[in-house]
């Protein structure tokens, strides 16, 4: 008797617990906020990732916004990268998403397609994105619906330690039209000239942006517009073969040192500590690298290409986006805040290039006179890339949010000789295809 009561109580608790979770899950997707601004006092939240420098700038921008909109209070919150995504997943799952969220391309589709992000076209009267070039704006869309406003732009380039090249008397060809062979030659020359104490380059291999550019030079892509994996095995094999050749020729350090570099911070990276002369990086981090290596003169070069490379392989990738939660109670005010952050001239000057070269052309112009020397280098590379850029690639589909992690893992397997480029290419594409299919 007693034990049946006992089990009934337990069963009740279980049912309540499960339904509690499902209830809160149901709430995701139903945006019921108004599309017009309210006159009443409103509080919205704004979340971003970044370190202390970004924190200070964003808080100043919030103060400016609150001054212009006395009835809106903005609660800002910043977290570092890894903690940001853990916390975001938890709060969104718990139905407590912040109103405005900084987003990365990797996760945009994952959250948008599952109904966590608001359709920004609904607020187009408040949030004006018409200044953005179409190819940039398109990278904030999923199936023709706008979910994220691009904030900054990056392109993958090569950071080079000029001081080291000068020391060994190595000069660069015209890097606007250089080839992969040129790059390999220079890298080998550095290793040779130093007697092996330093290496020429940390090759790519574990980041999807460089793979995307490599593939586009072959007229190939990672994903098509409907989010299917279309990367060719032969293309990925050649990408890893190039990496492996660099290691074998001594142009790049061995697998173990590369693995160390893969998980090192910018300040402990081989470039900052002077162990290699060149590395593949997104353009936006040049400033951080230069700050970490104050005694070296760093430069940024565009990616080499191959003979007969597909025209228009270049593209600019939004470094991050602003998005609105589909559950926001005040989406109009949230949209107003994003509009302010992406179009107000004062904000443009305030932010500078801290979130990458601004996507808004008006911002680019506004900050041009006050750029630091590293910013000038970056904006140069960006404008050259813009000039030759083709159509933007499709954004990372749902289920491929951890594609960089998987790519990095296979890349290490190739470096350590556990898999040949061909085997790894086959397995990676199979893995990715399955992950994307499972998530649909």
């Amino acid at each position: 008797m007693k034990s049946t009561i006992h089990s009934r109580v337990l069963g009740g608790i279980a049912a309540a617990a499960v339904s509690m979770l499902i209830l809160s899950g149901c709430a995701v997707g139903g945006g019921d906020g108004s599309t017009t601004l309210s006159d009443k006092p409103v509080t919205i939240s704004l979340n971003w990732w970044g370190a202390a420098a970004r924190d200070k700038l964003t808080r100043t921008a919030i103060d400016l916004f609150e001054k212009k909109h006395p009835n809106i209070t903005v609660k800002g919150q910043s977290t570092e990268w890894a903690g940001y995504w853990d916390k975001l997943a938890t709060t969104v799952a718990g139905g407590q998403a912040p109103d405005v969220m900084q987003f990365d391309q990797l996760y945009l589709a994952s959250y948008a397609q599952r109904g966590a992000l608001a359709d920004l076209d609904k607020y187009s009267k408040i949030l004006d994105t018409s200044d953005l070039p179409a190819s940039i704006r398109g990278q904030g869309q999923l199936k023709d619906t706008m979910y994220g406003v691009p904030i900054g732009l990056v392109t993958t380039g090569i950071i080079v330690n000029r001081t080291m090249l000068d020391k060994y008397g190595i000069s660069l060809p015209d890097t606007d039209s250089w080839t992969w062979d040129d790059l390999a030659g220079i890298a080998q020359a550095v290793t040779k000239a130093s007697g092996g104490s330093v290496h020429g380059i940390n090759p790519f291999g574990g980041d999807t942006p460089s793979l995307t550019l490599w593939a586009r030079q072959y007229g190939n892509e990672l994903y098509d517009k409907s989010g299917n994996v279309v990367l060719k095995e032969s293309v990925l094999e050649s990408y890893w073969q190039y990496m492996l050749d660099q290691i074998k020729s001594g142009a790049a350090p061995g697998a173990s040192q590369l693995a160390e570099g893969a998980s090192a911070t910018i300040d402990q990276s081989d470039i900052a500590t002077g162990k290699t002369a060149m590395t593949f990086q997104p353009s936006a981090v040049l400033t951080a690298f230069q700050a970490a290596a104050p005694d070296k003169k760093l430069d940024l070069l565009p990616l080499p290409s191959r003979k007969g490379a597909h025209k228009g392989y270049q593209y600019l990738k939004p470094s991050m986006y602003w998005t609105i939660s589909s559950k926001s109670k005040h989406p109009a005010e949230a949209a107003e805040l994003i509009d302010f952050l992406t179009t107000d001239p004062e904000v443009g000057k305030l932010f500078g290039t801290e979130r990458g070269t601004p996507a808004n052309p008006a911002f680019q112009k506004a900050i041009a006179p006050k750029l630091s020397p590293t910013d000038v280098i970056v904006s140069d590379v960006i404008s050259k890339a813009t000039a030759i850029a083709g159509d933007a690639p499709a954004i990372t589909p749902v289920g491929a949010g951890d594609s960089d992690t998987i790519l990095g893992r296979y890349s290490q397997d190739v470096q350590f000789g556990k898999k040949t480029p061909k085997e790894a290419a086959k397995e990676f594409i199979a893995d990715l295809t399955k992950a994307v299919k499972d998530a649909k």
Binding site: R54, S78, G83, G95, T273, A288, A291
Partner: protein, 313 residues
Amino acid sequence: MTDQQTVSRPAPTHPARPPLTDEERRSRGAAERAALLRRQRLASIGKHVGLILLGLLMLYPVLWMVVSSLRPNGHIFGNPGLLLDTFATQNYTKGWNALAQPFGSYLLNSAIIVFGSIVGNVVTCSLAAYAFARLRFRFKRLSFAAMLVTMMLPIHVLIIPQYVLFAQLGWINTYLPLIVPKFLATDGFFIFLMVQFIRGIPKELDEAARIDGAGHLRIFVQLMLPLMTPALATTAIFTFIWTWNDFFGQLIYVTDPDKYTASVALRSFVDSQSQSDYGALFAMSVVTLLPVFLAFLFGQRFLLRGIATTGGK
């Protein structure tokens, strides 16, 4: 295994010889004492040398952290040495003021959570431990097993249901999700720890008290708690350190930056995607470490008070 014989028949079952009193000890032969002393001194020197070497090995990372916090940014990496050629205190002033609030307010927030957690854990876990160790009741084995099993699930699959639960209670952005569970004895580690300690206390002590007519509450408060001082001190110290260093829970439940704790605020100095300030990070890491170290230094005195000392009074 022949060892088992000796192991399972431990010393306390042959208390034939009464312990030596101080007078007896003093009356020992002088020569015997001198030889003993010499041997002890040699052994003691050996011990010290070993411990100092070991201590250096253990101390090195902390010393390195302190030294690094006094190096200017850009000189921290690639320098595993401990010698300081510059003495740059600007990391401290900069780090203290780098965030929305002075760093001290984050330390205070951490302290509030730590204080609540210690009180909660010490009181409720010791109560539960007494019940598991000394009382006979229905479902004892089942509930003890249930307590252990709940410790075996990794936090990452529990955090979302827990978050939903606390969100429904309206506790997000308060310290309640971090403190209230401690008042409900949810930390099985400490319950189990104290169960083991109580089981090490001779049962005859409380049975005697029971014959004298003492109730369980009185036995617990007047007899057990004083005897359990080392276990209570261990619980308090560990709760302090683990709560102070905890990151995930504090990150998830606290949203208002003014309510951030020290461990969450520390991470604001470094971000893998943008420019980081390692000097400030190291400086504030040292500042954050200091209270825990002091807590340990102070708290460990209570570890020494066991039966051995209370019995001597």
